[in-house]
């Protein structure tokens, strides 16, 4: 009986030992697996951290690049704005030059005196913007300004102006323009009706004057283009009037000579 009990206990101990041993082996195997997994996870973590760092660097680089692009965009916009302004300026210059070219071309495009005078009127009305104007020429004796064309004024008042008399007469003597905005000729009583008076000159000799008495209501004042036009008128209108005057005299002389020839033939 004791033997059997002893045997049974021995077998039980043996079984427990074996199971413990197996359990310990299983635990160790499991442990090994976990260790491998932990190692793999750690490796993954390191890789993930490296990737994270790389991504952060990339983001930082992109951010810098973006900031740089934004700065460049602002620069380009400023540049673009400046080009647009420059373009407008050039277009304005072109337009101004076109005006000056047209004025010069039109003044020298004819030898007909009446046409030259109407071109001067057209220029003042349409390009300078005045509908009250007068064109004078110095008479042959050199003592008066004679009104040769006018628009929108009482012409009787300005028919003959003695040289040196009033602003217009003084401009013809002095040979320098009067511009109301810029004043000048302070010693004389200012004529509130006169916006500008431009001497017509051939070299240094004054041959006439152009007087402008008002500007169109929509025109706030004279600008740089107007001053250029005044300069151009001063010389080119004088030359055109002078040439057309010679042409007219030649025509008259031609007619007289023809008439004389005819009279000789008839007699």
């Amino acid at each position: 009986m004791r033997e059997k009990e002893k045997e049974a206990r021995g077998s039980y101990v043996h079984r427990v030992r074996e199971e413990t041993h197996r359990f310990a082996n299983d635990l160790m195997a499991e442990n090994e697996k976990l260790r491998t997994r932990v190692a793999a996870a750690e490796l993954d973590k390191v890789r993930a951290q490296e990737q994270l760092l790389a991504l952060q660097e990339e983001i930082e680089r992109d951010r810098r690049e973006r900031a740089q692009l934004q700065r460049r965009l602002v620069e380009i916009e400023v540049e673009n704005q400046s080009f647009s302004e420059r373009f407008l300026e050039v277009e304005q210059n072109n337009s101004n030059l076109a005006n000056l070219y047209v004025v010069s071309y039109r003044l020298h495009g004819t030898l007909e005196r009446s046409e030259v005078l109407s071109v001067i009127e057209e220029i003042i009305i349409n390009l300078i913007g005045s509908e009250e104007l007068a064109v004078f020429e110095v008479d042959q004796q050199g003592s008066f300004l004679e009104l040769v064309a006018s628009f929108g004024i009482e012409s009787e008042k300005y028919h003959h102006i003695p040289l040196g008399s009033g602003l217009i007469g003084r401009v013809a003597v002095e040979g320098r323009p009067y511009i109301a905005e810029r004043r000048g000729y302070e010693e004389l009583q200012q004529d509130d009706d006169l916006i500008a008076c431009i001497p017509l000159k051939l070299g240094d000799r004054v041959t006439g004057a152009v007087a402008i008495f008002s500007l169109l209501p929509q025109k706030p004042g004279l600008g740089s283009l107007d001053y250029e036009l005044f300069d151009l008128l001063a010389t080119h209108a004088a030359m055109a009037l002078y040439c057309s005057g010679i042409q007219e005299r030649l025509k008259v002389a031609g007619n007289v000579s023809e008439r004389m020839k005819l009279e000789v033939e008839v007699s």
């Binding site: 304005q92 076109a98 004025v103 071309y105 039109r106 009305i125 349409n126 390009l127």
Partner: protein, 121 residues
Amino acid sequence: MRKKVLIVDDAATIVMMERMILGKTYEVVTARNGLEAVEKAVAEQPDLILLDVVMPMLGGIETCRQLREKAETRGIPIIMVSTRSELESVEASYESGCSDYVTKPINGLELLSKVKSFIGN
């Protein structure tokens, strides 16, 4: 094909100046008075008309009315050009059927931009 602009003005100086401003971008045809303008508008079928208000024979306002009455020219944009800036003159022009109104002295840039706004480049 370039768009076509009909310039109508009795002042040759203005015609020449407008031609210089618009000629780079558009084909330009011209007329010296209202009667010629109506004939040219029918024959040339311009894309836009620049019409002076004060002209001999047939003034700008009457010309504009006639152009609006004709089926062939009814749809053409008309920009009136005038030295007159008074309200009555502007109103009379719009009543005659013009599309826009520009006062003299003409600013080249302003004119070009107005024309562009109607017919493009």
